[in-house]
Amino acid sequence: MSEQQPAPTEDDRADADQTADSTRTPVTTGASSAVRALENAGVETAFGVQGGAIMPIYDALYDSDIHHVTMAHEQGAAHAADAYSVVRGEPGVCLATSGPGATNLVTGIADADMDSDAVLALTGQVPSTMVGSDAFQETDTTGVTAPITKHNYFASDPDTVGDTVGEAFALAAEGRPGPTLVDLPKDTTMAETDREPGPAKAPETTTPPTEADEESVEAAARAIERAEKPLLLFGGGVVKANATEKARAFAIDNGIPVVTTMPAIGSMPEDHELCLSWAGMHGTGYANMAVTHCDLLVAVGCRFDDRLTGGVDTFAPEAEVVHVDVDEAEISKNVHADYPVVGDAKAVLDQLTEEIEQSPGVREWRQQCQTWKEEYPLAYKTPEDEPLKPQFVVEALDEATPDDTIVTTGVGQHQMWAAQFWTFTNPRTWVSSHGLGTMGYGLPAAIGAKLAAPDRDVVCVDGDGSFLMTIQELSVAVREDLDITVAVLNNEYIGMVRQWQDAFFEGRRMAAEYDWCPDFAKLAEAFGARGFSAENYDEAADAIENALAYDGPSVVDFRIHPAENVYPMVASGGANGKFALSEDQL
């Protein structure tokens, strides 16, 4: 599978521009200039909700070919745009009105920020003459979103608003991707202008290096050649930089085992011998053993999140660290880099490949990693009788769908089971909320993913609690007639919380019981989707078949074993090598 949807070539775009130029309505207002900037940037789809202050933009969209997807809630719009960007590899766009519209976007923007996903948010604002007066639906949106965006803009000039939108779009995707926002006061968007915006261009002060400087590459290459127990750690940056092919080749050519972070799931095929899957709190035992015992950790495009490292004092304690990242500020932020290499992952992997003269001799180490795979397999006990085991449901769904199926999730135990028991072999097929851990991400993300890749299967593995948080977006899936399958792993708990309460709070299950959840199958039908439920293995098999066969949105309510917990588990702040295999080891 290719890493991205086939993107239009430069020529295609130029052709499209020319034909479009003669037919496109001319720019007449700030709003039409902003929308023109989106068109120039190649935006095909945008997600949002209408409202007073953003109405001029929507009015301009009326004349545009951009497919606008009206979401039920702005949070859904932001998550959909985020997932769209993960799947497509280009910025996703979301829109909201001022005040509550903008604040409803905040969770989704923060989520994109933590996961370095390119999202452009356009928000309406009260007219600039009223800014600061606590006007109706006024919120200091640039103030609120400053800490969770790469940069945000207050667009006060109708003549330049188009260029500003173009700049924000380009900046979102450049270097380390992330969300940007343009706040659009109504007087700016209403004002007359005939200024056609230029091509989307990121500001000069933000341009990161592509290639790393030779010295740092040399030093890293020598360290790799010398290593006896080297380990590659692929982070989300590998996927973002479209460096998956290069990264795989680098691992295979040099025979170096690979662990990934959660956002990088799929960057290395999980069925490949060298792949040890993902490390961290609920990562595989073998990945965590390898991290703990390696003598050189070559981290590419990762930020050493604490869910990955556990206690930093015990993280890869014997290892020298090579850290490749396009964002210099990530180097030595959490884990000291002995060999910092600042540059784009794809370019640096080329440079390293060129520079390395001899692969390290690591046969013994590779065998050691295989031994750990055998010692600590991902496994679960399945009683033949009911209720269902969630891991089984995930495996069955994986089996019933093609290899390039896109999986989205909410946040909780179900997310971990999906990550553990689905075997991912392609990049941009795992779409989840990592850094922020946002419950409710799964369904809107499935909508964004399906619109980004209409030909691919999309399955949302959700929890009952997570599903309830953005369940209203089901109406959107129905209206847009999206063929997505939501698999709710329903344990009638917010299970991850219950797992922690049982382990660390003496089983005092305060506010963790969700036995008041609605009948999800009925609710799905009420929205106009298909609903199924399954309580045992036979029903599960039928439901999976029927839901996948249904050409439209469907929901399967899997009544899973309510007591099932996620293992292995590294206690928060603990040592990766001390992962627990059951509760009594915590």
């Binding site: 640039t142 400053a146 800490p147 790469k150 940069h151 207050f154 900046l171 002060t205 933000t206 035992g285 053993m289 703990t292 015992h293 050493f304 930093v312 004092d313 015990t314 993280f315 304690p317 014997e318 020298e320 964002d327 210099e328 500020a329 180097i331 030595s332 932020k333 959490n334 884990v335 000291h336 055998e374 010692e375 600590y376 397999p377 991902l378 496994a379 679960y380 006990k381 399945t382 009683p383 033949e384 495996e395 219950r498 797992q499 049982d502 074993h561 007591a563 099932e564 917990n565 293992y567 292995p568 090598g577 001390k578 992962f579 627990a580 295999l581 059951s582 509760e583 009594d584 080891q585």
Partner: protein
């Protein structure tokens, strides 16, 4: 909780074909695994446990050249609160280049912390360049002090000693201004304590690199007000070409 279902659970073969019994997952327990000896400190730096040292804080003066646009200061200060950097002082003012301003920060952090301050600052879009000043940099601070006016002669003497100026003298209060480096200011404040300091306002340090060294890397002298053909500018231009 996985123990609950394990009691009467029949043996089951997972996809990997691995069979096991007992609660939880297969594999040696934490204590039965090999453990490495090494450790890292709180900054993620590998350490020798024998000589483990706590990272020490130091004071650094950081200068950032920024686009002089609304919101820059709030972005910079927002960064500090969000990342919990220890800022002692921050000064801001225009430079001779139109549309540019300089922010001078005094931070007290570990080496790793100072490194982060500089890198994170550099990521902000309106920030053009960031530099850390050497110890020999030219630094100055301004302080206004209001003291009791009971002993005007003595106050005057101290003011003169520190090359200060009296800005306001009334029957009850005297307000003076002192400028200088941190040490001088601290000494002066100490000296004025004897009169009873009523109010004090300090600007925080501002600083420039000494001699020909640009204060932030690659910084060019201003175009608007710089005298033409100054040797300083020629040298910097020459420098730039080699960069």
């Amino acid at each position: 909780m996985s123990g609950e279902d394990s009691t009467d659970a029949p043996e089951f073969e997972t996809e990997s074909g691995y069979e096991f019994d007992g609660p939880g997952m297969p594999g040696p327990a934490p204590d039965e695994r090999p453990h490495p000896e090494g450790r890292r400190n709180t900054h993620g730096v590998r350490i020798d446990p024998e000589v483990e040292a706590k990272p020490r804080q130091r004071t650094a003066v950081v200068s950032a050249l920024v686009e002089h646009e609304p919101g820059v200061l709030s972005r910079v200060s927002g960064l500090f609160s969000r990342r919990q950097f220890n800022i002692e002082s921050l000064t801001v003012g225009k430079t001779t280049v139109d549309g540019h301003a300089r922010i001078t920060l005094v931070v007290e952090e570990t080496d790793a912390g100072i490194d982060q301050v500089k890198k994170q600052l550099g990521k902000l879009k309106p920030v053009i360049q960031v530099g850390e000043l050497d110890d020999d940099a030219v630094r100055a601070e301004l302080v206004l002090l209001k003291v009791r006016g009971d002993e005007p002669d003595k106050v005057h003497a101290i003011t003169q000693m520190y090359e200060g100026q009296t800005l306001d003298a009334g029957p009850r209060t005297i307000t003076v201004q002192i400028t200088g480096d941190q040490q001088k200011i601290d000494d002066a404040v100490d000296a004025f304590r004897q009169f009873g300091i009523i109010e004090i306002a300090r600007t925080g340090q501002t600083a420039l690199a000494r001699g020909d060294t640009p204060t932030t890397p690659g910084e060019e002298p201003g175009h608007s007000t710089e005298p033409k053909g100054s040797t300083y500018r020629d040298e910097t231009d020459a420098d730039d070409e080699t960069n």
